[in-house]
Symmetry: none
Subunit: 173 residues, 2 copies
């Protein structure tokens, strides 16, 4: 289950101070409230998360990769690499596939792909994107902090500085 792309509506109990939110995908409302009010805010959040959904990285024809409001420009080879990793976003892409896409003619030395993956990793880091290695299988592009495997899903009670109430989380498939 993905964690990115979610919007949150904080339900603030009466008597608690209002939260400080900046993110466009966050909102809050004081409860109890008319149900139509809650629904209006939920619908607004959903609409925003779809329209303004920069939760998926976008790569334009000029090699500019945008994600999370920031961007980097990629050189041609790394742009091809990224494009390939991107249309299998969050899934493994084999080394041979990458080599075929990046060098349509003949592949250069054995090391070339590794080096470019390394350089691409460094360039993607400030955007919050990570390339994971799946040994003897390939590579996988994903947002930072979306890993931790399926088995060690220890639930740390993530306590916000928001001092009140429950949190309704709106998933975005």
């Amino acid at each position: 289950m993905k964690v990115t792309g979610e919007a949150r509506l904080l339900l603030v109990e009466d008597g608690q101070p209002p939260p400080r939110l900046v993110d466009c995908l966050e909102d809050w409302i004081r409860v109890p409230a008319p149900e139509e009010d809650v629904r209006a805010r939920v619908e607004a959040l959903v609409a925003r998360s779809q329209a303004h959904g920069d939760k998926l990285p976008g790569l334009d024809a000029n090699g500019v990769l945008r994600y999370g409001g920031r961007w980097v420009s990629l050189p041609p080879l790394e742009a091809r690499l990224t494009a390939t990793l991107l249309d299998r976003f969050e899934a493994v892409v084999g080394r041979d596939t990458l080599i075929r896409v990046v060098w349509p003619g003949q592949a250069p030395g054995r090391n070339a792909l590794d080096v470019h993956i390394l350089r691409l990793r460094r360039r993607l880091q400030p955007l919050g994107l990570v390339i994971r290695t799946v040994r003897s299988r390939g590579y996988l592009l994903e947002p930072e902090g979306a890993d931790a495997g399926a088995e060690n899903m220890e639930h740390v009670p993530d306590e916000d500085e928001v001092g009140a109430g429950s949190v309704a989380t709106l998933g975005n498939p």
Copy 2:
């Protein structure tokens, strides 16, 4: 005509249905409401409008470029350059496109464009506008500090107060 750069907080009277808003720079609240609630939403809008809702620079027919309350006058050639960069604001414009617009006849020497970009950069700097180079792709005009290439991740400005009318319009200085 775009209306970007302004944020609105709708004050909804009791008994009225909640409005349907999608824009990240719009919000609403039911009145009467605690003043801290109103202020929390106003501050959130201001923060958003500074972080994400940037006002577009404006270039008039006389070559005067205005942005962020200040202005500079541009010579004809640089005005054409700026106009081209401006209708692809925050996106890459190819060198060939720029050359075609700036010199409709025949292009001068190879370095002419570089020099004019350099001079335009110096002129735009006091306005808080930056021309980024996207190597072998072109150039990109954007407000200072909106990229991830350099790690200038600071600048969380403060906000000012706003009195509440029926509809509060928050200008972006």
